[in-house]
C-alpha cells in the first residue's frame, strides 16, 4: 500500500523554540498553541500530522494565516526538520538522507514555489529560471533553451533580461513558477503560488497547472487561502488549524460533510452549486425524462431542468452507466446546509 503514496507524513510535530523536545512533551500532555506560547515561549508549528499524498494528484493544504501551512510544506523537502515524526517520499525517509543525497533529491525530484517569491535579486529572469538547472550541472546553453520554454509558458517572453526588481509582484511570482517547473521535478511544492496574480492570469495559471498535471502527472502539493481555487485544483484537500489537521478529503466530501464547526465555517461561503458535482449528490432511483447529466458536472447544470420539472434526472458515471438520480429535494437539501 505504501507504494501508491508518493508522500507520507507520519506523526509529524514541529515546535519552534529553544527546547522543542520538552515543549513537545507538554503539548502531548494536552497543552494548546496559545497556552504553550504564553507559558514557555515556544511556538507550536504542527501537531501530530498524518497525511498520505498519492502519486499524480494535486493535494491542497488550506488554513488561516499562521495555521502552519508553510511549515508543513517545508518538511517535504526538508527545509525544516520535524521535532518528531517521519516524512516518506517514495518510501524513503527524507530525514535519513545524507547531505549529498539530500541535494540530489532537491535537484531532481522535488521543486518549490515560494510564498514570497524568494527570487535572486542580482540575477536576471533567465538566470533565476535556470538556477536549478545550473546547480545540477546542466550546460548553460541547454539550460537557456529550457529556460526560454518555461518563460514562454508563464507568459514572460521578452523579459528574460529584466531583473526581478523591475517586475510586478504577479510577474515575479510567475518567474518563481517557471524556476520550479524548469527542473522537471516529479513533485511540485507550491506555497500560495498564485496569490499575487490578478484574476485573469490566475485563472490562466490554474488552467495551465491542470494541463501540466493532465500531461505530466506530477504530484503537486498546493497551498492556498482560496477555497474556490482549492476546489478547482485539489483532488484532496487538507484543512489545518493552529498546527492541527482538522479534516482531509475530496472537495465535495469537505463541503458536504465538514468534520467540525471550524471546517463548516471555513467552507460556509463557497458556491456549492458550482463546486459540488452531480455525482456527489446522486441518490439511488429511476431516472425519468430525457435529460442525463455527467457525474462530473456541477450541480448548477441541473438547475434549469429541476426548475422546469419535478422528475428525477439521471446521472451517469465515467463509463456511461446510470449511477443514480438527482431530485429537486436532494439538491435543495444538500445546498441548504449552510
Amino acid at each position: 500500500m505504501t507504494q501508491t503514496y508518493k508522500i507520507r507524513v507520519e506523526n509529524v510535530s514541529k515546535i519552534f523554540g529553544r527546547d522543542p523536545k520538552a515543549a513537545l512533551a507538554q503539548v502531548q500532555a494536552g497543552m494548546g498553541k496559545d497556552e504553550l506560547l504564553r507559558q514557555s515561549d515556544h511556538v507550536l508549528g504542527l501537531h501530530d500530522i498524518n497525511l498520505n499524498i498519492r502519486a499524480g494528484e494535486t493535494f491542497v493544504i488550506m488554513g488561516l494565516s499562521g495555521s502552519g501551512k508553510s511549515t508543513l510544506i517545508r518538511h517535504f523537502n526538508r527545509l525544516i526538520e520535524p521535532t518528531s515524526g517521519r516524512i516518506l517520499v517514495d518510501g524513503v525517509d527524507v530525514l535519513t538522507l545524507n547531505d549529498h543525497d539530500l541535494r540530489a533529491f532537491r535537484r531532481k525530484k522535488i521543486s518549490m514555489v515560494f510564498q514570497k517569491f524568494a527570487l535572486l535579486p542580482h540575477k536576471t529572469v533567465m538566470e533565476n529560471v535556470i538556477y536549478g538547472l545550473l546547480v545540477d550541472g546542466m550546460a548553460p546553453a541547454l539550460a537557456r533553451e529550457k529556460g526560454a520554454d518555461q518563460i514562454r509558458l508563464v507568459g514572460l517572453a521578452g523579459f528574460e533580461n529584466h531583473f526581478p526588481g523591475q517586475l510586478s509582484g504577479g510577474m515575479q511570482q510567475r518567474v518563481g513558477l517557471a524556476r520550479a517547473l524548469a527542473t522537471d521535478a516529479e513533485i511540485l511544492l507550491m506555497d500560495e503560488a498564485f496569490s499575487a496574480l490578478d484574476p485573469l492570469i490566475r485563472h490562466d495559471m490554474q488552467m495551465q497547472l491542470r494541463d501540466i498535471q493532465a500531461r505530466l502527472h506530477k504530484t503537486i502539493v498546493f497551498i492556498t487561502h482560496d477555497l474556490d481555487e482549492a476546489l478547482l485544483l485539489g483532488d484532496h484537500i487538507a484543512i489545518l488549524k493552529d498546527g492541527v489537521l482538522r479534516q482531509v478529503g475530496t472537495g465535495p466530501e469537505i463541503l458536504m460533510a465538514p468534520a467540525d464547526d471550524y471546517v463548516a465555517r471555513f467552507v460556509r461561503d463557497v458556491n456549492r452549486a458550482r463546486s459540488v458535482t452531480c455525482g456527489a449528490l446522486a441518490v439511488a432511483g429511476q431516472p425519468q425524462g430525457d435529460l442525463v447529466l455527467d457525474a462530473s458536472q456541477p450541480v448548477e447544470a441541473a438547475f434549469s431542468a429541476l426548475a422546469a420539472s419535478d422528475l428525477p434526472i439521471g446521472v451517469r458515471d465515467g463509463n456511461g452507466q446510470i449511477a443514480g438520480v438527482l431530485t429537486r429535494a436532494t439538491v435543495f437539501q444538500a445546498l441548504a446546509r449552510a
Binding site: N77, R106, L119, V135, P164, G165, Q166
Partner: protein
C-alpha cells in the same frame, strides 16, 4: 597606592618568560619568516617603482580612469584628477607614490586574509563569538603595541610596517563581510537550498554577491585605516608621506609636516570617493533589482 594589592601571580617573571619566549621565536624563525614575506616585499617595491617610473600625468590618468569606472560620473572623475594634480603641486608626489604602494598592497593583503575570516565567521555562532572580542581588542589596542613584535621579528623596514598596517586595518573587512552575509535575506538562501545548491554554490552565487555592498564598505574602511597608519608605520621604516611628517617633527619644520599631511588627506579623499561611489552605484543597482 598599589601597596597590598593581592599578587595573584608573579607578573614580573611572567613578563620575563614572555619576552624570552618571543626572543626565542625571533631567533629560531626570524629568517624563515623573512623568507616567507620576501615576495610581498618585492611586490611592494615593484609597485613603488612602477608608480615612480610612470610620468605624473600617467598616474593621474590612471586614477581618473579608475574613478570613472567606479562611479560612471564625470564630477567624481574630474574631482579625483584635480586632487591628484594637487598632490604634485604641493611637492609631495614621490612620497605619495610610496604611500599609495604601501596602502594598496596592505589593503589587498588585508582583504585576501579578511574575506575568508569574515565568511567563516558568518557561518557559525561560535566562530563569531570567538572572533568578535578579538576584533574589539585589535581595534582598541594602541597601534604602537603592534610595532614591537614585528620590529623584533623583521627589524625596522617595510615588511614590519606593512604587517602592522594590515593587523591594524583588517577588522572592518572582517566585520562587514560577516555582517553582510548574515543580512542576506534568509528566504532567498532557503530558496536556493531548496533547489539543491551546495554550501559553496550558495556562498558564491547568492551570499557574497548580495553582501557585496557591505563588503565594499568594509574594504573602504580598511583602506582609510591603512592610510591613517602611514605616519606611525613610517617610524619603523615605511617611508613615504608619513616619513616626511616624522621629519617635520624632528626638524621642527611646520611646512614639510603640513604639506605631507595635506598629501595624506588628499589621498584619503581620492580613494574614499572612488570606493564610495562604486559602493553607491552597486547598492542602487541592487535596489533596482530587488
Amino acid at each position: 597606592m598599589a601597596d597590598g594589592f593581592p599578587e595573584l601571580f608573579d607578573i614580573r617573571s611572567f613578563g620575563r618568560a614572555m619576552d624570552q619566549g618571543f626572543n626565542q621565536i625571533v631567533a629560531n624563525y626570524g629568517e624563515t619568516l623573512e623568507a616567507i614575506f620576501l615576495p610581498v616585499l618585492k611586490a611592494l617595491v615593484m609597485m613603488e617603482k612602477v608608480l615612480l617610473w610612470l610620468p605624473w600625468w600617467g598616474v593621474l590618468l590612471a586614477l581618473a580612469a579608475l574613478a570613472y569606472a567606479a562611479s560612471r560620473r564625470w564630477t567624481v572623475t574630474v574631482a579625483v584628477a584635480v586632487m591628484t594634480f594637487c598632490i604634485g603641486v604641493i611637492g609631495v608626489w614621490e612620497q605619495a607614490m610610496a604611500t599609495i604602494a604601501l596602502m594598496v598592497i596592505s589593503t589587498l593583503l588585508a582583504v585576501l586574509v579578511g574575506l575568508p575570516i569574515g565568511i567563516a565567521m558568518s557561518r557559525g555562532k561560535r566562530m563569531q563569538a570567538v572572533t568578535l572580542p578579538i576584533l574589539d581588542i585589535m581595534q582598541t589596542m594602541p597601534i604602537f603595541v603592534y610595532l614591537i613584535p614585528f620590529v623584533m621579528l623583521f627589524g625596522p623596514g617595510k615588511i614590519p610596517a606593512l604587517l602592522a598596517t594590515i593587523v591594524f586595518a583588517i577588522p572592518p573587512v572582517i566585520r562587514l563581510t560577516n555582517l553582510g552575509i548574515r543580512q542576506v535575506d534568509a528566504e532567498t538562501v532557503e530558496a536556493v537550498r531548496a533547489f539543491g545548491a551546495s554550501p559553496l554554490q550558495i556562498l558564491f552565487s547568492v551570499q557574497i554577491p548580495l553582501a557585496m555592498p557591505a563588503i565594499l564598505a568594509g574594504i573602504n574602511q580598511t583602506t582609510m585605516m591603512a592610510l591613517s597608519m602611514v605616519v606611525i608605520a613610517s617610524m619603523i621604516g615605511a617611508g613615504g608621506l608619513g616619513y616626511q611628517v616624522l621629519q617635520g617633527i624632528q626638524r621642527l619644520e611646520i611646512s614639510s609636516g603640513l604639506m605631507a599631511g595635506l598629501g595624506i588627506v588628499l589621498l584619503a579623499i581620492i580613494f574614499d570617493r572612488i570606493a564610495q561611489s562604486y559602493g553607491q552605484r552597486m547598492q542602487k543597482s541592487l535596489k533596482l533589482e530587488s
